[in-house]
């Protein structure tokens, strides 16, 4: 228990230093919203197929298609985010070392722009080999967490509307109806989430997101007429 509390405190420190909270919230919203609307597109497409030929599909088809897409988005988010976050954070640490005039282990200075430094601050010291400063550890921690959010959030957003299709042997309109209800609920939740972050306007955000969902549905259904 003591070890766990110590670990949590360390992670909180890392989050504070790397400003992880703001980044994680933004990534969660963006990616969950992406996942939800992607799933809305898939379900709308399946609805069109169902309406054209009710015997063509079974619920399992939609579950497999939906989850395959959800995991593809998730892996794309996780992998892509890890690489881009790692690159950005490495640059951030490097820029910080330049500002702080901190040498690498081989003794070379990363100092390029000295115009903002006093003469006093140009004193250069050698750093002995170490595992990494707390800022480097914080940025690594933030990279991992941000990547997990980038990967997990779209999977969550895309998976929830697929829940009704786990039930029943035959596909019915009720499956699609419940799925859309869940989707709307998810969009409303995301709107409330945004409203909480900004300190107000929950209804406005929720209406915006539901409108986006309706637009996705309409466009998907219109495509069925081509």
């Amino acid at each position: 228990m003591v070890i766990r509390m110590g670990l949590i405190k360390t992670w909180q420190e890392y989050s504070k230093i790397s400003n992880l909270g703001e980044i994680a919230r933004r990534k969660f919203f963006n990616n969950c919203f992406d996942g939800a609307l992607t799933c809305a597109g898939i379900i709308s497409g399946m609805l069109l197929l169902f309406l054209a030929n009710p015997d063509l599909l079974v619920p399992r088809n939609i579950v497999i298609t939906g989850f395959a897409t959800a995991f593809a988005i998730g892996i794309s988010g996780l992998w892509g985010a890890f690489l881009s976050e790692e690159a950005e954070r490495k640059k951030k640490v490097l820029d910080l070392k330049k500002e702080m005039v901190i040498l690498d282990d081989d003794g070379t200075t990363q100092l390029q722009d000295t115009k903002n430094l006093d003469v006093k601050k140009k004193k250069i010291k050698k750093e002995k080999k170490k595992k990494g400063s707390i800022i480097e550890k914080s940025e690594k921690f933030a990279t991992i967490v941000a990547s997990l959010v980038d990967g997990g959030a779209p999977v969550l957003g895309a998976s929830l509307p697929l829940i009704p299709f786990f039930f029943g042997e035959e596909l019915t309109l009720a499956h699609f109806f419940v799925s859309y209800i869940i989707l709307i609920g998810l969009l409303v939740y995301l709107g409330i989430f945004l409203g909480k972050i900004s300190g107000g306007g929950r209804l406005r955000y929720a209406l915006h997101l539901v409108a986006a969902g309706i637009v996705t549905l309409i466009i998907s259904l219109l495509l069925g007429h081509f």
Binding site: E13, K16, I17, S18, N19, L96, K97, E99, M100, V101, I102, N116, K120, K121, K123, K125, E127, K128, K130, S133, I134, I135, E136
Partner: protein, 88 residues
């Protein structure tokens, strides 16, 4: 023996002075830590650090802890070493 160091440090905005002070207090031999801000620019903060402790307190250990927090020790401005039984 009482040892007092007054040092000039350049640090990034994060970690905060509070976090840095608590970390320096954990250095072996440290009994008192005081941090005062000198200058702030867009990316860095110049601070004055005063650390008082026993004979186990060394500038090398302080420097190591500072570098763990990406802080740069720029100058050791003042060192005071006092025996316990010394009277001014």
């Amino acid at each position: 023996m009482k040892i007092e160091y007054n040092i000039d440090v350049l640090k990034p905005h994060q970690p905060s002075n509070d976090m840095l002070a608590r970390a320096l207090k954990k250095v072996e031999g440290a009994k008192f830590v005081s941090i005062k801000t000198d200058e702030i620019d867009s990316k860095t903060t110049s601070i004055y650090v005063k650390i008082v402790g026993t004979e186990e307190l060394t500038i090398e250990n302080i420097e190591e802890e500072l570098s763990n927090y990406n802080c740069s020790l720029h100058s050791l401005d003042e060192v005071t070493i006092l025996d316990d039984d010394w009277e001014k």
